[in-house]
């Protein structure tokens, strides 16, 4: 399939701002464009004084539902959870060897990874400022380890740049910074910035450019041991009678600019991806398992909700066996309901809420995204290329290759072979799972030829085909937020909604948790206030 044409986007624009102007300006631009923001977690909640016998029905056992169950039970409520799947966690999961995954259309994939290896088809990294999620990891004893986001030795790759040969992030980053520093130093030195920069500031700017870009005394970025200390050496320093280090050749500015590889070097500047980033030891699924240890007994699994009714006496959910889609209809009843069913599914379930909430649910649809996990016989990226964790970015449809941040220098490993959005995600999702691996291997082999010999087994999760969410995450625009966001989050009678879709951090686990905490605090206030 041919890649679609990509015009300049705000994201590309921000990439360029980040690459050119550095994180500070980038952050300012992001803030102005409303991308970045605090997590909003103000510390653990403590709900007290639930009336004796007060009950809450929670629909959905993803992170929002699990947090609600955990906190409301602690507050003294009688809690029951209905979950469509046979497991807790929702999008928070990992696929391990021995698992089977059936997507819509009836396609079942067996996961054949070796013991100890896994793949996170959904969330895979936890920013250090996602304090709510970190709080629950700590509380539930989920071990964390570092997730390598930026790896200077990973690649940036564009099919049409440098003959399609992947370039080391280190080279592109150092050369881009150096060339830009040299250009800026030149115009500053020629007095061309006098309107913007005072004489005093000009001196500081010149020195800053020299240090930032590894420029020489004449403010030039060129081949030297100084610049090689940024971009790496032709021959590394050695010991004993080894030859002295040799400087490497920077890329020419024009080659670098025309390669457009600079679009890929700013990712780590972004708020969510700034060090430290974490991952749970053993896979994101460990968070789900930890919550299930706490509130598992409250959960009814394999429950497909078919109707939600509220009246003066409470809320009733009708559900059937999700495995057969039929059988006897069962009822779950409680005084109140926290509904975390994704809007894409909830919009299809009859529920007597007001028009404002219903319209807000109906206004959301979910993004296309696909991830592919590939197990290889040996960790060639480590053995042959010294890439330990981190991400290679490519303009091919697979978009990324994510290297595992654990198990270094062991025998086998699982790569994230594709993490696609947009048209490419639709195109890959449309294929039967068995057909998706081959093109992903082709794209990967253009960066790592070892793919051909070392591939063993793979699995893909196309989020539009995930039976219980119908997409990756809710899509909000400013217009939709203005029209519907408050209505989506407001309590309607005895029902309140929660989940990443009811947050300002869509697609993030933190958004789901913050949404849940906000919803149950308001619900509790309403209960206690009555």
């Amino acid at each position: 399939m041919a890649p679609a044409a990509f015009p300049m986007s705000r994201r590309s624009l921000l990439s360029m701002i980040g690459a050119v102007a550095g994180p500070a300006v980038m952050y300012q631009a992001m803030t102005e464009l409303a991308f970045a923001g605090e997590s909003g977690f103000t510390g653990p909640i403590a709900l007290n004084g639930a009336p004796k016998g007060a009950s809450v029905l929670i629909l959905g056992a993803g992170l929002a539902g699990l947090v609600a169950a955990y906190e409301l039970r602690k507050a003294g409520y009688e809690v029951q959870v209905l979950e469509y799947n046979s497991r807790a966690g929702g999008r928070t999961r990992s696929l391990y060897g021995g698992d089977a995954y059936t997507e819509l259309g009836g396609f079942t994939q067996s996961v054949n990874f070796d013991p100890g290896l896994y793949f996170n088809p959904g969330p895979w990294r936890i920013p250090h400022h996602h304090q709510a999620l970190l709080h629950y990891c700590k509380t539930l004893n989920v071990s964390l380890e570092s997730f390598c986001q930026v790896n200077y030795n990973a690649f940036v790759h564009a099919s049409s740049a440098f003959g399609g040969k992947p370039q080391r992030y280190r080279h592109v980053n150092a050369d881009f910074n150096g060339h830009v520093a040299e250009l800026l130093a030149k115009v500053a030195d020629q007095g061309r910035l006098d309107e913007a920069v005072s004489l005093q500031d000009r001196e500081a700017l010149l020195e800053a450019m020299r240090q930032w870009g590894a420029l020489d005394k004449g403010y030039a970025y060129k081949k030297s041991l100084l610049t090689s200390n940024r971009r790496g050496f032709e021959v590394d320093p050695g010991g004993g009678l080894a030859p002295p280090p040799t400087a490497s050749d920077p890329m020419a500015l024009t080659d670098l600019l025309q390669s457009h590889l600079w679009t890929s070097i700013a990712a780590g500047h972004h708020y969510e991806f700034q060090s430290m980033v974490f991952q749970p030891v053993g896979g994101m699924g460990m968070i789900a398992k930890a919550f299930a240890r706490e509130v598992g007994p409250l959960i009814t699994y394999d429950a497909k909700v078919t109707q939600i009714r509220q009246d003066g006496g409470g809320v009733t959910a009708i559900y059937v066996d999700a495995r057969t889609g039929g059988g006897a209809a069962r009822r779950a009843h409680a005084d109140w309901c926290v509904c975390t069913i994704p809007a894409s599914v909830l919009g299809q379930i009859p529920m007597n809420v007001g028009a404002a909430m219903q319209e807000s649910i109906d206004a959301l649809y979910y993004e296309a995204s696909i991830k592919v996990g590939l197990q290889f016989k040996r960790r060639f990226w480590e053995e042959d290329e010294a890439i330990f964790g981190g991400i290679t970015y490519t303009d091919q449809p697979n978009a990324m290759i994510g290297y595992p941040s654990s198990g270094f220098l062991t025998k086998k490993g699982v790569l994230l072979g594709a993490y696609a959005f947009g048209p490419h995600a639709y195109e890959l999702s449309s294929m039967p799972p068995g057909d998706r691996i081959a093109p992903v291997l082709d794209w990967g082999a253009r960066i790592h030829p070892q793919y051909r010999h070392e591939f063993e087994t793979g699995v893909s999760v196309a989020w539009h085909r995930v039976p219980w969410v119908l997409g990756c995450s809710a899509i909000w625009t400013s217009d939709l937020r203005a029209l519907h966001y408050e209505n989506l989050c407001a309590i309607d009678g005895r029902i309140v909604l929660a989940g990443e879709h009811a947050s300002r951090l869509p697609a993030w686990q933190e958004g789901a948790i913050l949404s849940s905490l906000d919803a149950i605090v308001r619900l509790h206030q309403r209960v206690v206030g009555r």
């Binding site: 399939m1 890649p3 679609a4 044409a5 990509f6 015009p7 986007s9 705000r10 994201r11 590309s12 921000l14 992001m30 409303a34 469509y84 819509l104 259309g105 564009a158 457009h260 679009t263 990712a267 972004h270 969510e272 991806f273 497909k304 909700v305 999700a322 894409s344 599914v345 919009g347 299809q348 649809y365 979910y366 993004e367 296309a368 995204s369 991400i391 303009d395 978009a399 990324m400 993490y419 696609a420 959005f421 947009g422 048209p423 490419h424 999702s429 449309s430 539009h464 085909r465 039976p467 119908l470 995450s473 899509i475 909000w476 625009t477 400013s478 217009d479 937020r481 869509p506 993030w508």
Partner: protein, 131 residues
């Protein structure tokens, strides 16, 4: 204009997680069949019969609602509930092509063609970009 801003590059995805990249770029496919195979099939399936899980993707097979060509075009162009908005990633010509394809396959026999000009008349304004 909004579409230009909305169109994202896969290389730039990482700027912030995942928000609105359904709009990312455009689809190169031009014939109704290739567009169906690249997009619609991911949810409505190869046989057009949809699928059922916790929610459902409606079947397009033997669907009397498709007798109204402009209705079908409007759904594709503007989305409806869980059905995404394709007015950005697809041109009027592409939408006309794929609507024509669905209306003449999967047991549907609605031979009157849909023109790109008709698609244009059912388009709603593009969503704004700012999250």
């Amino acid at each position: 204009m909004a579409l230009g801003l909305l169109a994202g590059s896969t290389r730039a995805q990482e700027i912030n997680a995942y928000s609105k990249d359904i709009y990312a770029g455009r689809f190169p496919q031009q014939s109704g069949e290739t567009i169906y195979r690249a997009i619609c099939q991911s949810c409505h399936m190869a046989d057009g019969k949809g699928a059922i899980g916790a929610g459902a993707y409606p079947s397009l097979a033997n669907d009397p609602r498709l007798s109204a060509a402009r209705y079908a075009a409007a759904i594709v162009a503007n989305g409806r509930k869980a059905m995404p908005w394709f007015g950005g990633p697809l041109s009027d010509t592409q939408i006309a092509a794929v609507v024509g394809y669905v209306r003449t396959h999967f047991g549907n026999r609605f031979e009157d063609p849909v023109s790109p000009a008709e698609v244009k008349t059912v388009r709603l304004p593009a969503p704004s970009d700012d999250p």
